[in-house]
Structures are given as C-alpha cells and as structure tokens.
C-alpha cells in the first residue's frame, strides 16, 4: 500500500542542463560566455526556467 497522495504523483520535469552560463567566483554570480552577468539576459533566464516555482533544488521543496 502506498500513501494516497502518491497516486497523483507524476514524473517531474527534468532540471534543464545549463550550459549557457557558468559561475564566476570573482563576481559571485553566473556569467554568460561574453562575461556579462547571466541576469542581464532576462529572456534566457525565463527560457531555462531556473527561477520558477517548480525549480527548487534537491534540498528545497517549498517554492
């Protein structure tokens, strides 16, 4: 027997593989290949979905 709520579970969307930006420890934020902060490209952020309410990390679930 499994918990009732589990009957309504479904596979989660896989976290996107992000290769459009990488962490810069000097600036302490993620940067694009041309060195600009990733947050300057709002279209990209929206497209990769990493700021959405279903994008919690493995250690966070209350988005």
């Amino acid at each position: 027997m499994k918990p009732f709520a589990w009957n309504y579970a479904r596979p989660a969307e896989l976290a996107p593989v992000i290769d459009q930006y990488s962490y810069d420890s000097t600036l302490q934020l993620n940067v694009l290949p041309d060195g600009r902060p990733a947050v300057s490209d709002r279209t990209l952020l929206a497209a990769v979905g990493t700021t959405t309410s279903t994008a919690g990390s493995a250690t966070h679930f209350d988005d």
């Binding site: 027997m1 499994k2 918990p3 009732f4 709520a5 589990w6 009957n7 309504y8 579970a9 479904r10 596979p11 989660a12 969307e13 896989l14 976290a15 992000i18 930006y21 962490y23 420890s25 000097t26 600036l27 302490q28 934020l29 993620n30 902060p37 990733a38 947050v39 709002r42 952020l45 929206a46 979905g49 990493t50 700021t51 959405t52 309410s53 279903t54 994008a55 919690g56 990390s57 493995a58 250690t59 966070h60 679930f61 209350d62 988005d63």
Partner: protein, 311 residues
C-alpha cells in the same frame, strides 16, 4: 558590514540579488554550506562569552563580527561536496556553521527556527486564519473514513502533499490535484493525507513579501485548472493591487510567523476573494520579477543591505 548569502552556485535567482547588492556597493560573501569543509572554511573561538571568528570561501574572508545580514536562500547540505561525505560530517559541519552564525548579531532572512516552523502546512493554515485570511476547509488524516466523509461533504476536494515534493529518484512531482468522484480512500491509511476544499478560481495570486514591501502578481486561470504551477495556459503574471485588508493580514502573518520574507499563494474566486493556500518562506520570486518587472530582487537587496539592529 557584509551580507552573507547561503546558497549554491547554480542559483540564478540569488544572482539577481547579488547584482543589486553590487549596484548598491554593499559587500557580500556568497557561501555554499555544501563546500564546508573544502572550498569553504571556518574558524571561531569562544572568548569571554562570545564566539569570534571568520568564514572564508573563494579567497574571500568575512569576520563573524562583520556580518550585517544572512540570507538563507538555497544552501546546499553541509559537507555535501566533501571528499568523503557522510551523514555525520553533514551534522558536524551544519552544527558548526549554523551554531556559530547564530552567535552573530546579524539579521536573518529568515530566522532558521521561524523558517522551519513556517514550513508546517497545518500551522500555516491556522496562522492564516488568525491573520484574517479566508482559508479553505482542510483535513489531514490517516483515516480513510474521515477522508471519504470530507470528500462527500465538500464534493470537490483537492489532495496536496503535506511536506512538498518527494525526494529520491526518479524525480517526481505532486501537483495539487482534484480528487475524482467515487475515489477509493483506503490508501489514506498508508500515510497522512491532506485534503482541501477546492476553490474554483479565476486567477492565481502570488504575493511576495520582502519586509514591509509587498509585490502582488495575478495570473488568470483556465476553467478547472487546479495547480497554477503546472500547465502552460498562455497567460502571464501581471502586477495587481493589494487591498488594505490583505495588506494588514500579510503584516500580521509575518509578525506572528517571525518571517522577513514570504511568498504567499492565493486562489482568487469569482467574487474576487483571495483564499489563502500557503505561504512559502523560501518561495521563488525570479519568475515573477521577470514577467512583471516588479523590483523584488532590489527589495531583497535593500533589506539585506540595510543597517540596523538584529531582528
């Protein structure tokens, strides 16, 4: 005085705040507890009633005395990146890090005890009621009979996870889901189940509270849509005005919960009433800012960068 941001490298929502802190000229250190020990290091000494010491990461060193605020954003599990990780090392590293940070006079967004309590859904609903929000009828039970009676009483009920999405592989999601008629509730005995009266909504509301500053956004719902986080309806989030009554309730909720930050979810019914669904003490806000243009990251930066007494 420095802002300490506890989060992982991949957290671009934190980047939005880091960029604003840079713009404001506020010193910051971004530290992932997963890097302790290793890339991250700490040392603190107990001297005459006080712990004094420092944290370091990425070549930066910050004195415990020099912290003005601590933002608990998306910290990794302590010691997760250690050469030889273990549950014990995680416990040791977590106790050392947070134990020392709790000795500082820094303001927290959010206080860890408050954050832990704020995650408890039944407590949220009670607090919401006492804060003046309308709250849908809800039951948490392991009795199939009770669940069945609740469903019969309200006819349209949803099931949602009590704690959040389940851990493990493969990754699974538990969207809030309408329970079909004639459902067999016998599995309720296998685990606490949260059922809630379904609110037929015309819109989802996400209200982000950053200190006293409120940013409310509204997204129209499709008929029958239950969980606004799932399914692309083609609608977008738009800024919406906060009624004074809601403003007062949010302020009271934050005060009672001891939260500096909270992301409130409401269902707006056909009469325009905002029904409290939950308040996520660490809820995402980047997607709202990207769609509405509301300056939430700057508000977080302002709160973190403000001088002042510890909360």
């Amino acid at each position: 005085m420095t802002v300490l941001i506890l989060t992982c490298e991949q957290d671009v929502t934190a980047d939005m705040v880091v960029a604003q802190l840079h713009r404001r000229g506020v010193p910051l250190v971004r530290f992932d507890p997963a890097d302790l020990p290793g890339e991250g290091a700490l040392s603190a000494e107990y001297v005459r009633g006080e712990f004094r010491g420092y944290l370091s990461t990425g070549g930066r060193v910050v004195s415990m005395d020099g912290l003005r605020s601590i933002w608990v954003r998306r910290p990794g599990e302590p010691a997760a990146h250690a050469a030889e990780p273990s549950e014990w090392l995680t416990a040791e590293s977590g106790q050392a890090l947070y134990g020392v940070l709790e000795c500082t006079g820094a303001r927290w967004m959010n206080e860890r005890d408050a954050a832990a309590k704020a995650r408890l859904k039944p407590w949220q609903l009670r607090l919401a009621h006492h804060s003046g929000f309308p709250v849908p009828a809800t039951v948490v039970t392991t009795y199939p009979r009770v669940a069945r009676q609740f469903a019969e009483q309200y006819r349209h009920v949803v099931v949602k996870a009590v704690s959040g999405k389940p851990p493990g592989e493969p990754p699974m999601a538990l969207p809030t889901t309408l329970v079909p008629p004639d459902t067999d509730f016998s599995d309720v005995a296998a685990g606490p189940t949260l059922l809630q009266r379904y609110i037929a909504k015309r819109a989802d509301i996400r209200l982000t509270a950053v200190g006293d500053r409120l940013f409310a956004a509204r997204k129209p719902a499709e008929p029958g849509q239950v969980d606004g986080r799932y399914g692309d309806t083609g609608h977008t989030w738009e800024p919406v005005e906060v009624q004074p009554r809601v403003e007062r309730s949010v302020a009271l909720y934050r005060k009672l919960a001891g939260l500096a930050y909270g992301a409130f979810d409401f269902a707006e019914d056909s009469e325009g009433t905002w029904w409290f669904l939950e308040c996520n003490q660490g809820g995402q806000f980047g997607f709202i800012e990207l769609e509405t243009g509301q300056p939430i990251a700057d508000a977080v930066a302002e709160w973190l960068g403000a001088p002042g007494e510890c909360a």
